[in-house]
């Protein structure tokens, strides 16, 4: 049976997914080994049940991130922190040093002070999710099995991890393959 694989995009720049797409012709081979059941690059709205592996791009920045992450954890056997934002918090977490009440300041800075047109903090309860007090890496919110660092991780590194998982091994990255940044 083919592995049921998902990828998800939380608080990140989508660079990791771009790198994922850089696996190019390997996708043809991959298509024979896995079913991609949920991903920003396919049109599925609800995260499905009984997923084998999920690659998570991005840090946990807002309530929506946290909610979907918990759902993913419940429905997935193996979580892989995918890229530096997921592994370390990286750039999205650079607002954290401004303290626990940085949420308002960050929004002010982005949507009011630096706005050329229509300044105003976007607020729509139930639609625009609230920022969390602190941005956290994925493993601070839920348990994560494996880590795939890089900003973004090069396609070859992503492929190496996927192949090992598909072969039933714990992905082992060593030396320069582990490089953050």
């Amino acid at each position: 049976m083919k592995l049921r694989v998902a990828t998800v995009w939380l608080g990140g720049c989508s660079g990791c997914h771009m790198s994922f797409l850089d696996m190019d012709e390997f996708f043809i081979e991959l298509a024979g080994l896995i079913d991609l059941v949920y991903s920003p690059v396919i049109d599925v709205k609800e995260f499905p049940e009984a997923v084998d592996v999920c690659l998570i791009e991005g840090a946990v920045c807002n309530e929506d991130n946290l909610e979907i992450l918990r759902k993913i954890r419940e429905r997935t056997k193996v979580l892989v922190s995918f890229g530096d934002c997921a592994v370390t918090g990286n750039v999205p977490a650079m607002r954290n040093p401004f303290g626990p009440d940085n949420r308002e300041n960050v929004l002010q800075r982005a949507y009011v002070e630096n706005a050329r047109h229509n300044p105003g903090v976007p607020k729509a309860d139930g639609i625009v999710p609230q920022l969390l007090e602190q941005v956290v890496p994925v493993h601070e919110a839920v348990y994560v099995e494996y880590y795939l660092p890089g900003c973004p991780p090069p396609a070859a590194r992503i492929k190496a991890v996927l192949v090992q998982i598909i072969n039933g091994q714990a992905p082992l990255l060593t030396g320069p393959q582990l490089k953050f940044g």
């Binding site: 370390t88 040093p97 401004f98």
Partner: protein, 238 residues
């Protein structure tokens, strides 16, 4: 000087009396990770990454400040040492804001390289996310305290190679920081000779050349080694 024989990782080696465990290990191609050690300046034994096991001693000893003795039996690598070294790096990454992706030293950073070699794929401890400033008041250089690991290499090269005595340490514990003169903006320092040795010595991207962008800066460690060799061994040719 009398020669001493000792065992490093099961291999018998000989070395001159007065040498440190670290020197002897490196002379014999045994790699011991270090961060605060810098060729050419005295050692302080602060980063604790070079701790080794010495047979007959319950305490781990820093290779950089421990002198060899006859018959010493040293283990430079073990599960226990690897665990402690990994933990030390995790603590460092969690302590300040090390964002490799946007760092000038990305790809040329000793902290980053060590993390790779010790298999550090994530930090299990909560990040502290402290608020540190960046001092870019100097004409040529900048100091980003977020990336500082307090190895004090810059302080030691400033005092003991350049002799300027601009850099120092202030404060204690997690709030300790590298300062210029009496904690003034670096640009206002009257003692700084603008020699740049501190930037050459820095293992991370904490000290940088202004204008360098992410991943762009290398530390010119060769230049520092050249100066030290010229001074200490009177060797002027590389």
């Amino acid at each position: 000087m009398a020669a001493k024989t000792l065992i490093i990782d099961g291999k018998a080696v000989s070395a001159e009396e007065g040498a440190t465990v670290l020197q002897v290990a490196r002379d014999n191609n045994v790699a011991i990770p270090t961060l605060c050690h810098l060729e050419g300046v005295y050692d302080v034994g602060a980063c604790r990454l070079c701790l080794v096991e010495v047979a007959g001693s319950t305490k781990l000893q820093p290779a950089c400040t421990t002198k060899i003795s006859e018959g010493m039996n040293i283990q430079t690598d073990s599960d226990r040492l690897r665990k402690y070294r990994r933990l030390t790096l995790e603590l460092l990454f969690a302590e300040r804001n090390h964002v490799c992706a946007v760092c000038v030293s990305n790809g040329h950073c000793e902290l980053q390289t060590l993390a790779c070699s010790l298999g550090l794929d994530h930090v299990r401890y909560d990040y502290v996310f402290p608020k540190w400033k960046v001092d870019v008041t100097h004409r040529l250089f900048g100091m980003d305290h977020n990336r500082c690991i307090l190895c004090t290499r810059c302080v030691r090269v400033c005092w003991h190679i350049e002799g300027a005595g601009t850099k120092n340490v202030a404060g204690r514990g997690a709030t300790a920081k590298i300062i210029s003169d009496l904690d003034q903006p670096w640009g206002d320092s009257e003692s700084c000779t603008e020699c740049g040795k501190c930037v050459m010595a820095c293992p991370t991207g904490a000290l940088f050349h202004k204008g360098a962008t992410a991943g762009e800066m290398e530390h010119d460690r060769d230049k520092l080694e050249f100066i030290v060799n010229a001074r200490e061994k009177q060797q002027w040719l590389p």
